[in-house]
Point group: C3
Chain length 419, copies 3
């Protein structure tokens, strides 16, 4: 890993800097200062929210928060270019408050897919995944918003469903029969569950900004904020209720509170800025919570055992199903209401096309990406090294003195295993 | 607990959604985009601040951060309705940037009271408490601001003193003689004390937004920000000084740094937007810090041993006494200065009436609520199960192999104890 | 410590309040509401960012987060006065949104220096350091911006380089030969490294606000935001690459990810608001990352062993060297471009003078401060008590029963050691 990762990362960074030198310039006269606080909310979600949400694994906290940071820092540069190429003016990509929000958004797809393969890939594989996924995402986003002219303000389809199904396809292709039996490291500790709540809460809090960020160009989209606020609140109460209901002893499950409480933000995304009425937003949020809880309880184990799809963080339940729900809500709302953007009406047909194309492109793109990640050059960690930071990180010793010797031996053999 | 909690929570959520459908609509032409960043600061305080502040207990972190989230998510919906009923226009409750700040505010009362009973109540009891407290809060707030026309911009009285004395009355009624001797779980660990500082710091940081949020309708209230900023800074220095001074060996106490440093924000609340001069704000903050430190040191043990008021998080010292100090400061300032709101002068008499009514209504409301929470239907956890997440949460095993069997047995008997 | 710290802290607070009463007044007609969200971002960096970044030490988390809070709360009051004395109007210091940003900024210098002496000083010493450093900082800042009329919008020189070299001079003067061999407490744990990432991420996220805060008076400085955003992103990728490259087994090092990823924000500071083009910002960020990684790997051990400069947190690599790089970038940019502020051009000569004076004044000021901190009155903790919270804090017991007795004995003797 030593040279491969470093050389690939540096090479990519040099290429990106050169491309920035050729194509990128500041937006002249950008006064969209109203967007900057919203950008910062999204920025917290990307770096703190996603990073800490994944720290629930007991021995994978360094990677969760560290590799998330790498993916996001790398991805936002790549995203600037990929999204920018679709919107060039005079051969230049103009960066401003709005474009950096979109750059952050593009990294969310890779971070969602990271959740599906969490613990089973190397940093080098994640760099490659980030490049491929953001490239395909930018194309699909162009298709959805420019060709189909569909609405998806909170990106239920283009980010959440896309990232989830892309990641599920990758994890299917990378399937490891050796992990059929649950890995001993694939569990949380008391402290790691509390760390993960830092991620959950910052995602939960700032989701109204996420769903209103693209809408708020020059007008302030209070509807997107209000709808998301109440959708998440209803979703949270319903999640607590069903979490207790599905447990034999009526106990709450941390994995559900960490994840399913957020499904309301995902599901209300597509029609967040439409006049759907707050109570409809709350219904969408409640249904999302129920779907997400049932997904974690029944579907995730089923996918793993029957379809060989091992989804570490359960992104299908937080981003996949609620993303589809969001897409369907968009179809329903555009059927009932006449909603439009600058005079161009949204149609249920185009909304359905957007949803279908997103899932199709995500699955196909993920499958191809998974195949590329299997290339021998990229290396694969062994099954027993999965979910373990010490393969890629210097980890402080917390062993008792008599255990240190054998541990060093383990590390040595681990390192050979990945070479 | 399994069915009771779930059914009550779902029933309440359905009722709320129906009420939203009937009464709530978007505010037309809401352009108060200046309020949105301030709303987000308050939002962080409610969800991250209060949640993490309470994680100091060694075995109660899941409940601290999780049940806080439940209370806040549920309470903000209920608060929208309760506050909205007092301000309906054309039979409708209009939601906008300002109303969602107020909804968040209303949940703060329940979160403060949660601190007083922390570790001794069930999630179902907390749902009931939240409904009752927010309902009574909305009435008292109407009394203070509309009937008495008193000023309380940072809600020293209507939120902090109210929440504290409500919670103290509840904990008195729910008094458990079996906890007279300190429970072995009612203490912190090194790590839980650091987690709690996440809560403290985010509360401390964003308090200027809390105290200026209601003021900032269309004008930007720099006075409320500056006064709170310097009050908290002075309070923090004084808290460190007295924390060391009161310890035999001159050591700082984490419980004081986590809590008393915030008293300056509470106490300056009532007159935060008045022209009191920064140095007066700093005096208020310093006095608040001293009162809070002495409260933790001398009063909390006394209340527990003499008056049977067991205040787990010491909310009396952070919200109760500093809230009263804020109310008194309001009386003093309106006596000295002629301050007014839109031409209507604030009078010391009305300020005093506001303070008195708030404490009276909080104590009475809390006592009644405590009585209701004692109803056998709601269940009571046993004394030995207090301050322990594993009663209501699936908690990761961190025991050594030979202890697992006996632990399972314990959990089983614990579960029977609450049935 | 008991009385000394408390009396000095209270005395200083009283003096500050009196000075506020005499000199400070609200800014009339301050409508710079655009600055408030940016202030809050900076505020998070100061209190959460710096505080948690230093929690990496396994037994020094209370001090890291607690004493940082004390330094910042005390320092922002002192900074208001010291900076204000240079800008009085009618004999008064006017406080507004911009001045509280500057007050927060001034504390950053003391927090950076705290990193250099982390674990080796007492709270009383840190109070004295804060007073002296902020006083000297305000003078140097005046020299740089008013006398030399140099540009340093993100304070690469006046805050970062200044704070680092000030701290290095202090730690040199306070050199402890007894710590030549690495202290057993001077290391991290798995959990403390994750806590430190909370600090890193909040610093990383909000750095665009830090670098644009002073610029954004009435105009919105998108350039400062964009340049910082891309500089940090490039720096992060490069840091990961070199972290792996320099490790024998290709593993990432947490200390580098926690620190060197931020160097891009420091280095781009001086010319953040100039038209340097995003790709140049990325080059500056990349070079900063490389310098910082090499500094941690080679320079920090060398400084400690050869020059008796023991820099606990490695502030030289995060703030010192990247700060100098920022100063040099400023010289280069003002040589190439004609940049000016309100018609007055920036000149490379003045930029060089600013850089030189900053480092000179920091080193001299730090040396004098170190000498003062050695005064017997202020006390010194013994070498074996370094990096240990329990000297100044009540720390929860986490020992097994049979160890408690001997531990109490240790604490007793420790206490005697500092008397």
């Amino acid at each position: 890993m030593r040279f491969k990762f470093s050389i690939v990362a540096l090479l990519l960074e040099v290429i990106i800097i050169v491309l920035f030198g050729i194509f990128v310039k500041y937006e002249d006269g950008d006064h969209s200062q109203i967007l900057y606080p919203i950008f910062q909310d999204v920025h917290v979600m990307i770096f703190v929210g996603f990073g800490f949400l994944m720290t629930f694994l007991k021995k994978y906290g360094f990677s969760s928060v560290g590799i998330s940071m790498l993916i996001a820092a790398f991805g936002l540069q790549w995203g600037t270019l990929m999204q920018g190429f679709w919107h060039m003016q005079g051969g230049k990509i103009h960066v401003n408050s709005k474009s950096i929000i979109n750059s952050d958004f593009s990294t969310a797809t890779a971070l969602i897919s990271f959740g599906a393969v969490l613990g089973k890939t190397s940093p080098l594989q994640m760099l490659i995944l980030t490049i491929l996924e953001i490239t395909i995402f930018a194309c699909n986003e162009h298709l959805v918003t420019e060709v189909f002219q569909a609405t998806d303000v909170g990106a239920s389809m283009t980010i959440h469903a896309f990232g989830a199904y892309f990641g599920l396809a990758v994890t299917l292709v990378l399937y490891r029969p050796g992990l059929k039996k649950k890995h001993q490291n694939e569990e949380s500790t008391y402290q790691s569950d509390i760390s993960a709540m830092i991620g959950t809460l910052f995602l939960w809090l700032f989701w109204p900004s996420f769903n209103s960020a693209i809408a708020s160009g020059s007008v302030f989209y209070i509807k997107a904020i209000v709808n998301t606020y109440y959708s998440l609140a209803a979703c949270t109460v319903v999640t607590f209720a069903f979490s207790s209901l599905l447990d034999q002893r009526g106990k709450f499950s941390m994995v559900l509170i960490q994840n399913a409480t957020l499904a309301g933000g995902v599901a209300v995304g597509t029609c967040a800025d439409l006049s759907i009425h707050p109570f409809a937003a709350m219904c969408i949020g409640s249904i999302a919570g129920i779907i997400s809880v049932f997904g974690f309880h029944f579907l995730t184990p089923l996918l793993a055992s029957k379809l060989n799809i091992h989804d570490t963080r359960g992104v299908h339940n937080l981003h996949g199903l609620p993303g589809i729900l969001g897409g369907i809500a968009g179809i329903v709302v555009t059927t009932i209401n006449e909603e439009n953007s600058q005079g161009i009406p949204f149609t249920p047909g185009m909304q359905a096309a957007a949803l279908g194309s997103t899932i199709g492109i995500a699955l196909a793109g993920g499958a191809v990406t998974g195949g590329i990640l299997k290339l021998p050059f990229l290396g694969q960690i062994s099954d027993q090294n999965c979910f373990d930071d010490s393969v890629f990180w210097e980890v402080p010793e917390e062993k008792k003195p008599h255990e240190i010797h054998s541990n060093n031996y383990d590390e040595h053999s681990r390192f050979e295993a990945i070479m």
